[in-house]
């Protein structure tokens, strides 16, 4: 395993009785990288996280996290990894601060860092509020704060912004990128292609338990940009979509010279379009 590689997965598979959940997954994640697992509900994203965090046994293949085989994971590894799942709970009757204080003690984190992390997720002014009184967005920020309290080397995020308002999504995205910049490897599952496009350094598109495409978001989009087209808006409010050709080049040149061109955009496919093209199904 490369020194920088923190998660390594080779030919991983999982089946529940007759149902195949994961088929021959292989990928690796480096330090300071956001790796996105993009796929619709039921594609196997959560199952992958459960296997990588030692909460579920795989049926075949190998995987290791921080040089520890997932088959040998014990509670000690959780001092180096953070996990946010879509159903991570909070102690509703305890205050925001107390919720973090318990985990600070469990994870041997200096209490002075609690206020720092609360400030970072924008909950410092609510630290004495009962967790049960928080809005959905605030709860999710608290859950994220708890997951990164011990500055984990690897952070698993299972649909961390699902169902949240745009401003909370932006706040969470900011924190995730900051953590990435500090060297944390982030394993992010999502079915939100905009989120994947914006955040991820590497992506794997997952469908029916199988990786159907990998690469950076840009690589994936450009690899599938087979029919190059451009969308233009002219001064007379005419909107045109033009295919790549010598004629199109001449037209665009002419409009630019005559100052007729208002906007021009390339029409490479979105990740959602790529997913649809590769799998024949939408990212729902």
């Amino acid at each position: 395993m490369n020194q920088q590689t923190v998660i390594s997965v080779e030919h991983l598979s999982k089946h529940f009785k007759e149902q195949v959940a994961l088929k021959d997954l292989s990928f690796s994640i480096k330090r300071g990288e956001i790796f996105g697992f993009l796929g619709p509900s039921g594609a196997g994203k959560t199952t992958t996280i459960k296997i990588l965090t030692g909460q579920m046994k795989q049926s075949g293949g190998n995987a290791s996290v921080l040089n520890t085989s997932v088959n040998k994971i014990n509670e000690n590894i959780y001092e180096q990894i953070g996990i946010v799942t879509h159903n991570s709970g909070l102690y509703d009757k305890l205050s925001v601060y107390k919720n973090l204080e318990i985990f600070a003690r469990l994870l041997n984190v200096n209490k002075s860092y609690i206020n720092e992390i609360l400030t970072r997720v924008g909950l410092f002014n609510d630290k004495n509020k009962k967790a049960g009184k928080l809005s959905q967005g605030m709860r999710q920020r608290l859950i994220l704060a708890r997951a990164v309290l011990h500055k984990p080397k690897v952070l698993f995020l299972d649909e961390p912004t699902s169902g949240l308002d745009p401003s909370t999504q932006i706040a969470i995205h900011k924190l995730i990128t900051e953590l990435r910049d500090e060297g944390t490897a982030v394993f992010l599952t999502t079915h939100n292609m905009e989120e994947a496009d914006k955040l991820c350094d590497q992506l794997a598109l997952l469908n029916d338990g199988k990786i159907v495409e990998t690469g950076t978001p840009r690589e994936i989009r450009l690899n599938h940009n087979k029919k190059k087209r451009y969308k233009v808006l002219l001064k007379n409010n005419e909107e045109l979509t033009l295919s790549q050709s010598v004629e199109t080049t001449q037209k665009i040149n002419w409009w630019m010279e005559s100052n007729e061109l208002v906007t021009i955009h390339s029409c490479e496919p979105t990740l959602e379009t790529v997913f649809l093209e590769v799998t024949g199904r939408e990212l729902v």
Partner: protein, 240 residues
């Protein structure tokens, strides 16, 4: 196996706070004191003797309370999706179980002591080492039974439904055992019946620690621990 005192004490503190903010867990200890006080006031002293009242209070607190304090907190953790969070925060199952059992046991033992003056039993009449030993071991057995129920419950309501028949059987039957010889014989082989016998006899100063009572306690403790270990090994604490 390395156990961390820091982690156990963090779980202990968490559980103490959770218990005092969850009335459904504290209802049995509060009820045991309330019922003893009520019966003392409402019933003639010839019937509601100190031994009778203490036996009833212990039944509520040690048996019903113990089972509830084992099953409810565990099922609450599952219901609120916090158990999985704890178990993926570097806490081992053994640390979690020790840190969770200790507060339940501590509260039960304190109430068992408080019940003595409330029931009107002279403190000098109590053979303290035996009283503390018997009440603590019976409380521990109840808590372990509660944990087994907690393992098979995903919500407090489910834990309540599963606990109710066992709690009623173990809490109420000892109160009626003096009216029926067969019930008395059967109950003497159960830990609630043995506890009730001990209280009644120790108040009349004719109780001596004996092989049968100790055996009943030890066998119940071993069997309940065995069932707990089996249930845990099959399902874990938070199996899906």
């Amino acid at each position: 196996m390395n156990l961390s005192i820091r982690k156990i004490s963090a779980i202990f503190e968490l559980k103490i706070q959770s218990m005092f903010t969850n009335m459904s867990i504290m209802v049995a200890p509060i009820l045991s004191i309330g019922f003893v006080l009520l019966m003392k006031i409402a019933m003639p002293s010839a019937v509601a003797t100190g031994a009778y009242l203490l036996g009833m209070g212990l039944s509520f607190n040690n048996i019903m309370g113990g089972i509830m304090m084992g099953s409810y907190p565990l099922s609450e953790e599952k219901e609120k999706n916090t158990l999985r969070v704890l178990m993926t925060s570097s806490v081992s199952s053994v640390e979690f179980i020790i840190g969770s059992i200790l507060p339940s046991l501590l509260i039960t033992v304190i109430i068992n002591i408080v019940l003595i003056p409330i029931a009107g039993v002279p403190v000098g009449k109590i053979d303290w080492p035996i009283y503390l030993l018997y009440t603590t071991v019976t409380a521990l057995i109840s808590i372990i039974i509660g944990y087994v129920i907690g393992i098979y419950s995903n919500s407090q309501m489910q834990a309540g439904n599963l606990s109710m028949p066992i709690m009623l059987l173990f809490t109420l039957t000892p109160m009626f055992q003096s009216f029926n010889k067969t019930i008395e014989n059967i109950m003497s082989f159960t830990y609630p019946g043995m506890l009730n016998d001990f209280v009644l006899h120790s108040m009349t100063n004719n109780y001596n620690i004996n092989f049968k009572d100790v055996s009943v306690l030890v066998i119940w403790l071993i069997v309940c621990l065995g069932i707990f270990i089996y249930a845990y090994s099959k399902n874990g604490l938070d199996s899906e």
